[in-house]
Amino acid sequence: MALGRQVLDGVSGFFERRVQAHPPSFAKSLGVGLLFAFGLQIITGVTLGATYAPTTTDAWGSLYILETRTLFGSFVRGLHHFGASAVVILSVLHMTQVVVSGAYQRPRSRNWILGVVMLFLVLGLALTGYLLPWDQHGYWSTRVAVGIIGEAPMGGLLQTLLLGGDSYGNATLSRFFALHTYVLPGALALLTLFHVGSYLKHGPRVREPAAGKAAVAGDPTPPTVPARTSLPYFPYQLVRDVVVMLLIFATLAALALLVGARLEAPADPASDFEARPEWYFLFLYQLLQFFEGPLVLVGTTILPALAALFLIAIPFIDRKRRERGQSSPSPLVRFGFLGLLTIVGGLTTYAIVNDATDERFQKSRERSNELAARAIALADLGGVDGLGRVVLLKGLELYHDKGCASCHEDPKVAAPRLKGYGTVERGAAFIANPDSERFFKGTPFEGEMPASGLAPEDNLALAAWLMHKEAPADRIDRARKLFISQDCTICHNDPEAGVRHKAYDPKLPGPDLEGWQSYEWTRGLLRDATHPSYFGDVLTDAAKLSKAMPPYPDLTPDELDLLTTWLLAGAPESKL
């Protein structure tokens, strides 16, 4: 308790010695709130930096792990994501407040210019941040943004410098990462020190003339004390500051928990992702829609540059006025700034409404959301390979691209359904009834293999034994005996007789069962299912054979591996 008392006295003494002014108000807490939001960005940013891998092959994977397999990882990323928006919003509110109160005038004009530079750093941080996940959104919206830069004069040069070359790759990601985590936050933190230092030196701008006005109005008793006496910062303003910070944090936490930061599918340069910048750059994006062809320079460079110039020039516009002793902002400044805000806000709203009512865009968003969810689920199941590919997603894509799905997925086409491929359950279901809807019904193989007629547990035992899956030793023994007693050997070789192909007797019509549905077996089947060791000698009728699965000699070794891996993961995301 005594210690608490001491700490309290110490803190209150510190504030009392320093800031002693003005009536407390929530309006004055805005700057502190902004400072807090920036601090939160640093804390969450460092945390993200401790889990992030800044290479094109690993960035997405590291974020998927953070999002799904790290305690509070998704929460921290959400805080950082919405925190960026909070910094932008609070910056604009803070500037508005300064403009309305005229606090950009001397002696605070330098601090205003510093603030404008800081706004650009904030926007730079926002711009460099969303490339880092190397997901569809980050990749494509950065392409758009960098494309806009490229259209400005000298833009090509700037573009090459930003990208670290002329294409998007590891050099780009490293550069953006360095900008986002070292250069821009470092510069912003430094300028923040100056900015806050200057504020503490000059104090907030207080409208003095309250007493004067009273006098002008002919107040009979001229005030002997200032109309509004100052109160110490501690605790009266501090309480308000803390409330504002709490509100900001609570809002961000709620957004992080309830909405969360999106992680799209990994960047795919061949896809048709519809890129949109983050909402705080939508106005620029929308502006560009109005200027096409030769006028493009107006949208990309001239108008934004004019706006920036106006912001920097605000203290100078007002200088004369200040010299005349008028402290309120001139109409040019006031209406210019508010007009600028209105235009930016209007363009942003227009863009948002446009997209929200665009059915085609919404459909495309829906598709990319589905893909994102699928990518995360499949990464969880089969990981990301050294080339940055979600292994099972690539397999699934090949399954569709190579036309496999057009038979195996189409309800109108009879073909074995692949869901659960490689599992004992599916193997046993096949042994139990090969001619079921799930397998051979309606295919050229219908009627080639009889149903086992065994008890369910015996089917499971046979499948486990054939597929080298774990099962109790007595079940495996029983399966071995059943294989003989059920006359499987009339068509099939004994899978334990030896090495694949070597022990396979070409006179046997049935497929070689050594390593049935194993990696090698499956991979070979994909290459050429018509080989005699598969189904080539099951179907002696050429017409029937032509309806069976053809060989795929054009599949590359890599594609075969991806497809096989996907199949053996149980053909996830395919239909039953």
């Binding site: 209150s12 009536p23 407390p24 509070f72 109160l231 605790p235 390979d385 007789a497 050594e514």
Partner: protein
């Protein structure tokens, strides 16, 4: 916006604050400080969770889970009566998000005792985890071999049993070489690879990588 009942009225400011004012001020200060500290703590909850996340050992990604059986080699590679063979195990390894194919996991020592009977030992020395190697030696006139660890001279018989040191310091290994489960799957020998804690006499499994 400006004043709440908690505060001394600023108009006009009293020359000396009363005791009640001071009390209110102290209380308000305490609230502000406590709330500020709570806020600071709340802001650090997320980062702390991320930092401490590895302690929770979240369940392995479902794709990484398996029954643990790994292929060693074709049965025909091992001959009854021949010296034990050392086989390196390779596996697709999952490191966080990254899947690496064919990573070296460790080595097993395989001896074919009969047509369908094997002895499979882990090559990890139970002393401190170095890898044992086969060493030919002499016991009197009989040529005998033993498993020998080059790190601290642990020695084990062909079947993995601890060999007491003939001279010099005692055998540093606290237990015999660790046997591994094996099975025959088709034409292949498979093993369930386990790593055991080193330096202790009990056999405690610690992982599969």
């Amino acid at each position: 916006m400006s004043s709440t009942p908690d505060e001394p009225s600023p108009v006009p400011a009293p020359a000396t604050p009363t005791q009640a004012d001071t009390d209110r001020r102290t209380a308000l200060g305490r609230i502000a400080l406590a709330a500020g500290c709570a806020l600071g703590a709340a802001a650090l909850v997320g980062p702390a969770g991320v930092a401490l996340s590895p302690l929770l050992r979240p369940a392995e990604p479902s794709g990484a889970a398996s029954d643990g059986w790994m292929r060693v080699a074709l049965l025909s590679r091992f001959v009854v009566g021949a010296l034990p063979a050392r086989v390196v195990l390779r596996k697709d390894v999952r490191d966080q998000w990254l899947v690496r194919r064919g990573e070296t996991l460790g080595a097993v020592l395989v001896e074919r005792l009969a047509e369908r009977d094997f002895r499979v030992l882990s090559s990890v020395c139970p002393h401190l985890g170095c890898t044992v190697v086969w060493q030919e030696g002499q016991a009197g006139a009989e040529p005998v071999g033993q498993w020998f660890c080059p790190c601290h001279k642990s020695a084990f018989a062909r079947d993995g049993a601890l060999v007491p040191a003939q001279s010099g310091p005692p055998n540093p290994s606290p237990r015999a070489l660790d046997p591994l489960d094996w099975r025959i799957a088709g034409a292949q020998l498979e093993v369930r690879w386990v790593r055991f804690q080193t330096g202790v006499s009990e056999r405690i499994a610690v992982g599969r990588s």
